[in-house]
């Protein structure tokens, strides 16, 4: 991937607040560990506080991150409201409401089947099909489609003014974007018809015969029959599914939807952010903002601070001698120990600065490329402690919002 492929647009022209105020769906993506969930929750909290309306933060990650950050004990498919008292305890009076939900794949699939099944019998047969139960309950990939489906369902229900979606880590997020299309393609595929044909009629044409003989040998005919039965049932819902999948794709590329890429300035996340920015560009999705998280303070790049740190490391002993009288001497300590201790501290303080400076310098280089594309670039610093409650989320939100 060459960064040059990306169109270089004008730099940072707006704020995250403006962007979010103008959209109905914000999809937050980025590689794992960059603070994506925290950012999504922080944006949600800020939007609920300052923009009003009903705001939903929807996490599709199988790991229960958002619940932790929002201090909600339980967290599931049903949207839950973050209590206003929590906002008040953090010193703000929200204009709107903050809601949160975590996708339960199995439950969402069941709901979907209930909506689309043509009759009671088909519905029950699908829900009790062993293949269906395995697919929906156990495997990760069915997550992607159902997440998009659920986003669409919530959005079109008009229950919320703003939906902020926290996606799984990058590569998955690409799957996630393509999931509706893939589902539609699958249901209209020739292959699927092939699979189903012999179970509908005894006639197997010459073209598909080798396929069946091989498939039978690998899979066993019972399994093949299960699959076929499953898909025959699913086909009854074909139109509904394809239509739905196409609508989901349309919603994603709609101008009411925007994408926010979150990254730290470490090498791997930056590379993934670049990959993702390109992927969004290539698919014609709207990249609204880049949020850089855990950015080290600017002073690490200050040459005079660097000079001071180098002197501290080099001349720790001399500096300790000159400064020793200014420090309270520990009870019972020898003067020489006292000085040695000060010297060690000076040395270590200087060395620590120089260590972090290496990181800060590398990161400054990383950000140049990333900043070229999106209209909004927001920075969040390293926080003193981890963000684990609403107050922390609001404090982070305050850093990136305007």
């Amino acid at each position: 991937m060459t960064p040059g492929k990306r169109q270089s647009r004008s730099k940072a022209v707006g704020t995250l607040e403006q962007l979010v105020a103008a959209k109905e769906i914000v999809i937050v993506c980025g590689s794992g560990g960059v603070g994506k969930t925290t950012t999504a929750a922080a944006m949600g909290a800020m939007a609920a506080t300052h923009l009003g309306g009903k705001v939903l933060v929807l996490t599709v990650d199988p790991a229960r991150r958002l619940a932790n950050a929002l201090g909600l004990e339980e967290f599931g498919n049903i949207e839950k409201r973050v209590p206003d008292e929590l906002f008040r305890a953090s010193g703000v009076e929200p204009l709107g409401e903050l809601w949160a939900a975590m996708l339960d794949t199995k439950e969402s699939w069941d709901d979907l089947i209930k909506t689309h099944a043509p009759d009671q019998q088909t519905r029950d047969e699908i829900l009790s099909n062993p293949l269906y139960q395995n697919i929906t309950g156990k495997f990760g990939q069915s997550h992607d489609y159902i997440a998009m489906e659920r986003l669409y369902e919530i959005h079109s229900s008009g229950r919320y003014d703003l939906i902020i979606v926290d996606t799984p880590p990058t590569r998955n997020a690409i799957d996630f974007l393509e999931a509706p299309e893939r589902m539609a393609e699958f249901f209209s595929s020739r292959l699927l018809r092939w699979l189903i044909t012999p179970y509908r009629s005894r006639f197997v044409n010459a073209a598909s015969k080798p396929f069946y003989s091989i498939a039978d040998r690998i899979l066993g005919s019972q399994f093949l029959e299960d699959i076929a039965r499953f898909f025959i049932l699913f086909q009854t819902m074909y139109d509904g599914f394809v239509e739905r999948a196409q609508a989901v794709t349309r919603t994603l590329s709609d101008r009411r939807t925007t994408f926010v890429v979150v990254s730290t300035l470490e090498e791997v996340p930056v590379r993934e952010a670049e990959f993702f920015i390109d992927a969004l560009d290539g698919r014609g999705f709207n990249l609204g903002a880049l949020v850089l998280n855990k950015v080290l303070p600017q002073y690490f790049l200050d040459p005079s601070a660097n000079d001071a740190a180098m002197v501290l490391v080099r001349d720790a002993d001399q500096l300790a001698d000159r400064l020793a009288d200014n420090f309270a001497i520990a009870e019972g300590a020898e003067l020489s120990d006292h000085r040695a201790r000060i010297s060690r501290v000076l040395h270590d303080v200087g060395e620590s600065f120089l260590n972090y400076r290496v990181v800060a310098t590398r990161e400054a280089e990383q950000r140049k490329d990333l900043e070229a594309t999106p209209d909004v670039v927001a920075n969040a610093p390293y926080f003193e402690t981890d963000i684990f409650d609403l107050a922390g989320l609001l404090s982070m939100g305050g850093q990136i919002w305007r």
Binding site: Q141, I214, L323, V349, T385
Partner: protein, 319 residues
């Protein structure tokens, strides 16, 4: 360090997983290097085709066909279509390659849409390499925490789903390999931060309850150095008072305030992380070992970084 279970490197198949961004690939590469240096013929396989494992050895991107990254250490990238082709060739001895082409393509299409197929093709290939004894150790740069369980349990799930036929036999030996702690183990990598520790604890629970794969250990990566020893923090606190800081700047001939502030940041970061390590230690089962790898300030990639991580792990394992 005294190990209570099976020695990490004595196993034959290691799945290295962890939340994204914790250095999963770097640790997988380092375990591979460590094993190879100890005379084991080792294969490191990346599952997500990010092409980034090779960076840890300064090599060009891995392919499905393994290549030697350093003496005794081989790298490959999982490709489910290739895996399927190989399977068909081996199992069915189909003579006509031309027939496999379109069939493989259409099956790959099923694999993309129908969940579970990719997982089984991936795990199947890995188990095959182990069963055939092509390597002493296979290290897998596995999917992140949220998805690894689906992968580890795929053979079992399919085994239960398919009652007869070749797949049934095929998955049975895979399940046997995966559930044998002398053969297979999972390594969870985390960093001493809130969410990675929380997810690690969740994953420990899920692996134990939902899969039959043994937990081989937890690697705590990016551990920050302790800045001050006994009594030194007191000195540092005094040093930060404006009067002393000003004198320090004067004697040093350059402003030292930011340097002191930076040290305070370092202390805070370290302290926060130490808290998470304590939590992890307190909440994991006591028979699980924690292996510590220090944070690398200079470089996070490349041969030298991989070697540093391998050395740190080696020291933790008592080599």
């Amino acid at each position: 360090m005294a190990r209570r279970g099976v020695e990490l490197l004595d196993r034959r198949l290691l799945f290295v997983t962890g939340k994204g961004g914790v250095g999963k690939t770097s640790v997988a590469a380092a375990i591979g290097l460590l094993a190879a240096n100890r005379g084991k013929r080792t294969l490191v396989c990346e599952i997500d085709a990010k092409g980034n494992l090779a960076d840890f050895f300064e090599e060009s991107a891995n392919t499905f066909e393994p290549s030697e990254l350093s003496p005794g250490l081989f790298g490959m990238a999982m490709d489910t279509e290739e895996s399927l082709k190989e399977y068909l060739k081996l199992q069915l001895r189909i003579p006509l390659l031309a027939r496999i082409g379109p069939l493989a393509r259409s099956l790959d299409f099923v694999a993309t849409a129908a969940p579970g197929v990719k997982e089984i093709l991936t795990v199947g290939k890995l188990c095959y390499e182990v069963r055939e004894r092509n390597y002493d150790l296979v290290v897998v740069d596995a999917p992140a925490t949220g998805h690894v369980v689906g992968q580890l349990m795929a053979p079992q799930a399919i085994n239960e789903m398919v009652k007869v036929g070749r797949i049934q036999d095929q998955t049975r030996w895979m399940v046997d390999l995966l559930s044998d702690p002398r053969v297979t183990g999972t390594v969870i990598v985390c960093t001493p931060e809130e969410m990675p520790v929380t997810e690690t604890l969740e994953l420990v629970g899920r692996i134990r309850s939902e899969t039959r794969v043994d937990l081989a250990g937890i690697v705590v990566n990016k551990v920050l150095p302790e800045l001050f020893g006994r009594g030194e923090e007191e000195i540092f606190t005094q040093m930060r008072t404006p009067a002393i800081a000003a004198k320090l700047s004067k004697y040093a001939g350059a402003p030292a305030e930011s340097v002191l502030e930076a040290a305070q940041l370092a202390v805070t970061l370290r302290r926060t992380r130490a808290g998470h390590i304590s939590r992890l230690r307190a909440e994991i089962p006591s028979d699980l070992d924690l292996l510590y790898v220090p944070y690398l300030f200079t470089k996070t990639h490349g041969v030298r970084a991989t070697r540093s991580v391998a050395d740190a792990l080696g020291a933790e394992l008592g080599y």
